[in-house]
Symmetry: C2
Subunit: 800 residues, 2 copies
């Protein structure tokens, strides 16, 4: 198995064992409370957290779902994420949307820029043409059960009960039809499925129990090349008949179908009215899809598979073990942790084959194998790493180091394949999502934490290339056909990227915002310098350290803000520090000014000293508090002309480090106060309507919420030789991280409470600590951090 598995301690195993027994006895025993039942429960303080997976609230924020946001029948990082789609159109408005009233199919793959095969059981006597045109079914949340690894609902139009579970690469569905009614299943091979319009598809029958085929995700602005997704379907009962359609033609009694806008109806006649479907997937071939299916799910025991999926989630989530807090806080915490593991799914097969579409023609590639003949890691699909330095780059290495290694090595492997480490690989190609090279700090942090197989000396030139005119720093977002929108030439020559870039040269690419680009490049250059230093290459280190000071060229002493500069060297005028995207990426100058995570000393200096910096930051937080530190409660609201005029926004990545700048500037108590406020305000909800107040972005914001609640943060993104964690204000009485197979690091708080965010005393392994940060080595060694909490700030503690 190439998908990372997380070994549990003996303690966790025994608990899981009980769960399995329970699950096998009654599949619905471990039912998660639904949105409806939650409010009826008493939100009492909890001692030890119950089974973590049982605490996950899958409906969180699902009224605002995007295609890949939700999850139910899926494994951690599994290729398959099978769930009902209540909306189909577009990347941001599709997937499982809580308030939509009909199911429009059950797609097996919900990933960044990718969809898979959508199945839809139906049951009536209408002709195929009518079913093809109108097949969606109403459903009710009242008859719905969701837990990690499992989903059940009823299609009220057809009287079909649907249950879903999955292994890594296989979706497993059970349909219970009404007695005496037709047993039908539609395969949707065309149309729009979330981010993709589906193009040419093929399906062919192998025998009465097996079909195989592929759909094609047509190219998008981001993932420009079409991607085939192969599948192999195995049915528990023989196919009675296949009927097909293509556009407005219907074909009776066929053995397959192909083309654009096609579909297939499979008819069964199961004596117990139940049909089980196993759907194996691969991006390489139908043969590999079959291999994946046979390797992962040979049998037909649905309850067992569902129980195993749940147990795997439970083991995975139990790597962070909490005590204390309220039931709501515990539930939200494990929901955040669960979300931290959503997305960035595996795209390689059990045999280590994967598809490379970066060149002229498709190449099937092979991952390196270990001594047991297993792939050493898996290849991942991934949205951007923009903001990863404050989210998954901290959380995953701490709690899921194997996943962090797999993702990092996957990026490097793509780099070898493509010639450049990608920004966001999807379908075997780079989507070029977002600006700059945010993979650099991610990979450097992994290198510093000893989590890469690839030696730093091999990685360094790959990163250097990406920071050159031949690399991604020269490209704007999605700039597939030129290399001018990154403005790197100007950055190298003049020390900043102008805003606007001259459209006489090119109008192509997104996020052509010179102010934001300059800040991000400077930080990424700093990260590269750290890796150069690690390899002993002082020349490269000096060069990029020097480039990392380019942020200074945009600091306008007169206004006190980072301010966009035009190509002629003039400040952009007029200047409104709260104007959205006026030179900054999904941000404004007020937020962006804080984006110097590698040089807070320098920022304080240009601002006139730490005191002035702290006062300004305090004012910004007080201002932002008035609208709950966000630009609205959902991604759809972020464009609101008033909401987005906020100086701090915890609903999107650009300013989520700001609460920890207090500590870096000598005021850790303010970090403790504001980070707790944010945790309580932004990441405390437990309803379908509100959750991340913006865009969760494939585990980024889930990770952030977990880190805030653990009270651990890496302002620099963990770039130091022994990476530093700033302490925030832990929420729970105890949070133990499984930092290695037999080692835990526990954060215990005493006298903690809703109004007691301040740390009065810190002890590490029994000894008082006179600083408010920890080193990576200290945490990974295992041990206990004991924090005495307080309702009032303690005068100046030692700071970083």
């Amino acid at each position: 198995m190439s998908v990372p598995k997380f070994r549990s301690t003996r303690l966790v195993v025994s608990r899981i064992f009980c769960s399995l027994l329970l699950l096998q006895a009654a599949a619905s025993a471990a039912q998660t409370p639904t949105a409806q039942t939650l409010t009826a429960q008493t939100d009492t303080a909890q001692a030890t957290a119950a089974e973590p997976a049982a605490l996950v609230y899958p409906f969180l924020d699902t009224a605002n779902s995007r295609w890949f946001y939700f999850s139910s029948a899926a494994r951690p990082f599994g290729m398959v994420s099978l769930f009902p789609d209540t909306a189909l159109n577009g990347e941001w408005g599709s997937g499982y949307r809580y308030d939509e009233t009909t199911v429009k199919g059950f797609n097996h793959i919900h990933e960044w820029q990718l969809a898979g095969l959508s199945l839809m059981p139906v049951s009536d006597h209408r002709p195929l043409s009518a079913q093809q045109a109108d097949y969606t079914s109403a459903f009710s949340h009242d008859n719905e059960q969701v837990r990690p690894g499992y989903h059940q609902l009823q299609l009220s139009r057809y009287g079909i009960n649907v249950e879903l579970t999955a292994t890594d690469r296989v979706g497993f569905s059970r349909y219970q039809y009404q007695p005496g009614q037709p047993q039908q299943l539609l395969l949707q091979l065309g149309g729009v499925q979330g981010p993709s319009r589906l193009g040419h598809a093929e399906v062919w029958q192998i025998d009465p129990h097996n079909l195989a085929g592929f759909i094609t995700n047509q190219g998008t602005e981001r993932r420009v090349k079409p991607v085939k997704v192969y599948f192999h379907l195995a049915f528990s009962t023989p196919v009675q008949q296949l009927d097909a359609w293509r556009a407005d033609q219907q074909f009776a009694n066929v053995n397959g179908i192909s083309g654009d806008d096609a579909g297939l109806r499979v008819s069964f006649n199961s004596s117990d009215h139940s049909v089980l479907v196993k759907a194996g997937f691969s991006y390489v071939s139908a043969d590999n899809a079959k291999l994946n299916l046979q390797s992962e799910l040979a049998g037909w025991d649905f309850a067992k598979t569902s129980a195993e999926a749940y147990a795997q989630w439970n083991q995975t989530l139990a790597r962070v073990h909490i005590k204390g807090g309220s039931l709501s806080q515990q539930r939200r915490f494990y929901t955040d942790l669960w979300h931290a593991l959503q997305g960035r799914r595996v795209v390689s097969d059990v045999n280590g084959q994967y598809m490379d579409l970066s060149g002229q023609s498709a190449k099937v590639r092979q991952l390196p194998l270990n001594a047991q003949g297993q792939p050493r890691f898996a290849m991942h699909n991934s949205d951007s790493f923009w903001g990863a330095q404050w989210t998954i780059a901290t959380l995953w290495p701490l709690v899921y180091p194997q996943a962090a290694t797999a993702l990092g090595e996957s990026l490097i492997q793509y780099g070898r394949d493509f010639g450049l480490i990608p920004r966001g690989p999807s379908g075997g190609q780079d989507t070029l999502v977002m600006p700059g090279v945010p993979t650099t700090p991610f990979l450097v942090s992994l290198a510093q934490k000893g989590l890469l197989h690839t030696p730093a000396s091999e990685l360094l030139p790959m990163l250097q290339k990406n920071h050159s005119e031949a690399g991604l720093m020269a490209k704007a977002g999605y700039e597939h056909y030129s290399a001018s929108g990154g403005g790197l030439g100007y950055y190298l020559k003049r020390g900043y990227v102008p805003y606007p870039l001259p459209e006489t040269e090119s109008n192509y690419g997104s996020h052509r915002r010179g102010g934001g680009q300059t800040l991000e490049y400077a930080y990424q250059d700093f990260a590269l310098a750290q890796l150069a230093a690690k390899t002993g290459d002082q020349t490269v280190a000096s060069k990029f350290l020097e480039r990392s000071q380019n942020w200074r060229n945009l600091f306008d002493a007169k206004t006190g803000f980072i301010r966009p500069k035009e190509i002629n060297g003039n400040w952009r005028t007029p200047f409104d520090p709260l104007e959205y995207e006026a030179g900054f990426i999904e941000s404004n100058a007020a937020q962006a000014t804080w984006f110097v995570p590698h040089d807070i000393e320098g920022l304080a200096a240009v601002m006139g000293g730490k005191t002035r910096l702290l006062n300004r930051l305090e004012q910004a937080f007080q201002q932002a508090a008035k609208q709950d530190f966000t630009a609205g409660t959902a991604h759809a609201q972020e464009g609101h002309p008033e909401y987005r005029r906020t100086p701090i926004n915890y609903g999107n990545q650009p300013s989520i480090q700001t609460a920890f700048i207090f500590a870096a500037a000598g005021a850790p108590e303010k970090t403790q106060y504001w980070s707790r406020r944010i945790s309580d305000t932004v990441y405390s909800h437990l309803t379908p309507q509100r959750g991340y107040n913006g865009d969760e972005d494939q585990g980024l914001m889930g990770s952030l919420a977990v880190l805030l609640k653990l009270g651990l943060f890496q302002l620099s993104g963990g770039l130091e030789a022994d990476p530093i964690y700033q302490l925030g204000s832990p929420l729970f009485d105890e949070a133990c991280l499984q930092v290695a197979a037999e080692r835990r690091f526990c954060i215990k708080t005493f006298n903690n409470g809703p109004d007691r965010p301040y740390i009065r005393q810190i002890k590490l392994n029994g000894k008082v600590l006179k600083r408010t940060y920890l080193l990576h080595s200290e945490i990974i060694a295992g041990g206990v951090l004991e924090l005495q909490m307080s309702a009032t700030a303690t005068p100046q503690q030692a700071s970083q």
Copy 2:
């Protein structure tokens, strides 16, 4: 070079040499008379034909063009057929349509189910979005020159003079822009191009002089899998800028583009205002497209390439050398011969690589090479062989044996690749065009004529498979996803294919016309029996000879017609022998009744003797003569409810053998009379409005016209061990066929004339011949056939 070349005799060479000199002196010297100039010429009797290529009238029937019908800048069987498209939508209404007034691009590939890259030079200062939306240009036939291998016209909207020529796999364009005006070229990567909607495309810049990329022909009902066509473009002058669009977005200054509905504008700044573009093509890869370009067209001499193309056509056409007849007759004859060589173009590369898309994933395959390292033959794209037994199966082996071999071996090679010899291979897959297995008589005839490399013993089991339930005889037209529409099970069990086939089993596939299917299968079974006999396998021969008598099961003695039978064994009632497609394929019972080419004796017997047969056939011809032996003057008219109630139709394949049934039934003088009438009536026009009175179908009807005018025909399709040619009524005083490098077979007529269709005496090599047929061996040996013509029929001659 894998494309067949035809060596000329010394005589022809010397004439060609003169042409080359003329052409090099002035590119327009060999200008073909246009439709306009024709009527002004005197249609006098001609002695020796002038340069054959100069006699070709390319505009013939172009008011009714379909996508692949026209040709100008192309070589015989060349992959590239570059010409202006005046209509773009659909297979049957697109290509060069004479009466359309605007040029909508210059596509390089016009083939059965395939389009290539369309280029469109433009020249104005409008923004790209405006050019993208509206770029077509008016043109006038007054400023247009077309000859085989060359096309010139002026785009009046832009003042651009366009000239086109080609090698086998390279299109060569010269654009002359107005001084001081923009020099722009649009690449159309999306939209509809004839038979194909284009899907995902990619273009990338290699250097200032070179671009490469591919377009994708999305799947159609016929060619169900998408087909990529790769190209490599070389420009005579450096690219100044590339701008692109995709859907409604425009991108300035890019180095490529990809996606659906995309396009590219290339801007130049050539000092002499002229831009030359060489476009190499391949179905395998962009690298192969480049290799094809470099191998075939290294230089930039447009006039030389154009002259070579013309010379190659001239050599090819000169393999039939005629004397006598009128200028119009000579022009029409060489136009027919030229059309006999259109379509069925090469799809393999100079290195012998070709694409096989028949399986789950694309496979690049390699043709066998000869001792010189050249491919032994080329792979061909091809529309159906339905009717080929009376057209190309006779003409090509006689005059173009290398082409016949290449096409035959290409079919067999596909058979090895696909598992079945295809009906109509396009884009490396079988389109399953039309019913039955019309490739069987084609291949058996080639085998009998000694024109296949593949031994008969290897071919036989391949054909047997195609005549079994596992083969194409089990499938209706385009029946890709089942094998029931062929009705073969019924044919084997009950001796006929019912009409209608039960739709409870399946409604899928075209041409599900049991009457026609039964007749065609019986004939094809007869062909297979001949091959079995050739290999000495009498068991197989007997089995298929027996099957070949199945036509008898549908002869209704009461009505005297072949009549459809229902599944229950009842005759289809009511029965109207002139009703179109009522159980017969693009035909009616009156026409179809004659479709027993392998058993005229048997047909005469069931009709009550030869005299009754001859009387009925005579009546049918007299009836058909009233509407000129066709169902209208164009394909678009064939559906006319009255026209199609004809008992004989020479505008489509099903009854084009009928004139030669007279001879087979003992009345050769009637064959002479009616075949001459048809030749004079159906295939005598020389206008854009009328030419083949139906569908020329990739050389089929052109071949038929040539054969009628030569007075040679093969009623059985040439299946005999030494294949038999029935004599018709030759049109010219002399027609010499180049049957081998140093051997000619000349058909000379004496006292011939418009009203002298009858043959009074036959001499072969000086000896009187007492029969009205020749053997293949007699013709191939070379020699002279001398025919004394007469205005009156001579009493009974020897018949076959």
